[in-house]
């Protein structure tokens, strides 16, 4: 255990030296929440979907975050809810990255008609407010975890597409790409070996920023009842269930899920900004 930790610390050392406070704070938040979600069964004895006590009890030593209107333990719902949120959000952003990046590369590299067609489709998707688009897709597909992932993924494809297309356009006119053409490299090789690696830093930054945004979209979807069906623990869904009781003074039903949503989104945003600083600085150094 200790050796493993030491190893990770050593691997990360050169990064952490350059890391700003922003990145460190963001990483701390994100890693803590991920760890809490993974180790949920060790941290709480209650199941998140079984009535374990009286309804609407305030936080106490027995129920750290109180119980909700159905008598479920809020603390376990927060921990297990983190699993749902992270699964949905990370798989959705990964999915949209895997679609958006290749499309952007093709569009930017080949240009002409291919580019026109993709750009028009992507721009019209981009023109929709993201939550409305996700809602529409989720409403058509019906509430389930997979459908929520698809709905969120579709919304973020244009973000990757536009960024990758723009960068590809500028990189493909650089001298080292011309040099690759001059030695006779085929298009696929040029795209994969010469353009993509030079895009990676930007893709990583956009990926983390995107997760932050997707967390809010996911919360919005489930708040409106279009994500995972109850009683699956999910922060957005808990927010919705609890908001009716807020005026009656049962603040813990909304305060904890709301705080977690905010904290996780902020954590990823901080990581994104921090990485942006490091990666663009590195690029500048090489010039």
């Amino acid at each position: 255990m200790n050796i493993g930790f030491e190893l990770i610390r050593k691997m990360l050392a050169p990064w952490l030296k350059e890391a700003s406070l922003m990145l460190k704070l963001g990483l701390a938040i994100v890693i803590t929440i991920i760890a809490l979600s993974i180790t949920a069964p060790l941290l709480t004895q209650y199941s998140p979907i079984i009535k374990v006590g009286d309804a609407l009890r305030p936080p106490s030593t027995k129920h750290l975050m109180g119980t909700n209107n159905l008598g479920y333990d809020m603390f376990s719902r927060i921990l297990y809810g983190g699993r749902t949120v992270l699964t949905v959000v990370v798989s959705a952003t990964l999915l949209s990255m895997c679609i958006g990046v290749p499309l952007g590369l093709i569009s930017g590299y080949y240009g002409r008609i291919v580019d026109r067609i993709f750009s028009i489709i992507m721009d019209s998707m981009y023109a929709f407010p993201s939550l409305i688009l996700a809602l529409a897709i989720a409403a058509v597909l019906g509430p389930s975890m997979v459908n929520a992932i698809i709905a969120i993924a579709v919304v973020y494809i244009p973000t990757y597409f536009r960024m990758v297309r723009g960068q590809t356009l500028s990189i493909k006119s650089l001298l080292y790409v011309e040099a690759a053409k001059a030695i006779g490299a085929r298009d696929l090789r040029i795209i994969i070996k010469h353009i993509l690696p030079n895009l990676l830093p930007t893709i990583i930054v956009v990926f983390t920023m995107n997760i932050a945004d997707a967390i809010l979209t996911e919360a919005g979807l489930s708040f409106l009842g279009f994500s995972v069906p109850p009683p699956t623990p999910d922060w957005g869904a808990d927010l919705r269930a609890g908001h009716e009781y807020l005026l009656a003074g049962y603040w813990w039903l909304v305060a904890f899920p709301g705080f977690m949503i905010m904290l996780l989104a902020a954590g990823f945003a901080l990581v994104g900004e921090g990485l942006n600083d490091i990666l663009s600085l590195r690029g500048a150094e090489k010039r």
Partner: protein, 330 residues
């Protein structure tokens, strides 16, 4: 033997316009980068293209390696017409014709190791598998003077100096054992103290592989040092071609003479100097007739009306001028 023949080659670049300008546009405008040039290159020769920046010499080089599509004319390499060959037809040709770029800071992929960069051509043309390619690359590193090769193999371009990077670029071009090299100002961005070494390296490969080299430069002193024949370009046209010594000793075109006058020299030369007035003209609207006439001290009325043709003046010397300096020679 004729290695490369260029016949009336043209390349016009459309001028980018804003939306409003396009709405009001009368006609499309073009930059006439290369406007009908012809020359022959013999094998194992070094042929220099000399001219100011913006005269179209780099575009000519890029046209020959077909990084640019010609608009008109012909490029004949080893007897076959490659003017409008597509990428598929060009692939076998790319083994024989290689280019070395001016800017060694931009011509190497920052995310590839030096070894991978040098070995890539072998892999692209499936000449060697990974292991063989690595061995070849190591040998090549040693050949271009980047020793110890094992150390350089693993480095990234940003860890190298400009001169070392240009050596890598040369290694990448040479690993395919090409027959023809376009060297586009390979030393102009390199520290003066290292230029000679890079040129020497280039010449070493020339004898090693029996290369023909098209050497593009703005520096007549460098061209004189290494080339067999020199062609002088001005605003997309070739104004004079001659064997090196002949061109230096007997410049017939006023522009060539002006270029020669501008080469600094430690030895006080007796030759009178010719200084041109004004700046190089706009390539979108080049002057009528002889393109040099607004700047030429010898210009007469015919110069602005008629474009001079490239005329043979003996001794393998060609010049495009109505009043070549031949009469003023003595």
């Amino acid at each position: 033997m004729i290695e490369l023949e260029i016949i009336d080659l043209k390349k016009y670049f459309p001028v980018q316009k804003s939306f409003l300008e396009r709405l009001l546009a009368r006609e499309k405008q073009f930059i006439k980068a290369v406007d009908g040039i012809s020359f022959k290159m013999f094998s194992r020769q070094v042929f220099s293209l000399v001219g100011e920046s913006g005269c179209g010499k780099t575009t000519t080089g890029r046209l020959i390696v077909r990084l640019e599509k010609p608009d008109a004319g012909k490029i004949v390499f080893e007897g076959s017409d490659i003017t409008f060959a597509d990428e598929k037809q060009l692939r076998p040709l790319r083994r024989k014709i290689q280019i070395i770029f001016q800017d060694p800071y931009a011509s190497l992929n920052p995310r590839m190791r030096i070894g991978e960069i040098i070995a890539e051509p072998l892999i692209v043309h499936s000449i060697a598998d990974k292991k063989e390619a690595k061995e070849e690359a190591l040998k090549m590193l040693e050949n271009v003077g980047l020793t110890p090769p094992h150390m350089f193999y693993r480095l990234f371009p940003h860890q190298l100096s400009g001169g070392q990077r240009q050596r890598v670029a040369i290694a990448r071009a040479m690993i395919l054992k090409p027959k023809f090299i376009v060297a586009d100002e390979p030393v102009s961005m390199i520290d003066v103290s290292l230029r000679a070494a890079i040129l020497k390296l280039l010449m070493k490969f020339k004898t090693l592989y029996n290369l023909s080299i098209l050497f593009i430069t703005h520096d007549l002193a460098v061209a004189r040092l290494i080339s067999d024949t020199i062609a002088v370009m001005y605003l997309g046209k070739i104004v004079e071609i001659a064997p090196t010594e002949e061109l230096i000793d007997n410049p017939l075109h006023p522009y060539t003479k002006a270029l020669l006058s501008s080469v600094p020299s430690l030895i006080r030369r007796k030759r009178e100097k010719l200084v041109l007035k004004g700046e190089i003209a706009n390539p979108i609207n080049p002057p009528s007739g002889c393109r040099l006439h607004p700047r030429c001290p010898y210009a007469e009325s015919i110069c602005s009306r008629e474009e001079p043709k490239l005329i043979f003046y003996g001794n393998n010397h060609y010049v495009a001028c109505h009043f070549p300096l031949v009469n003023r020679r003595y």
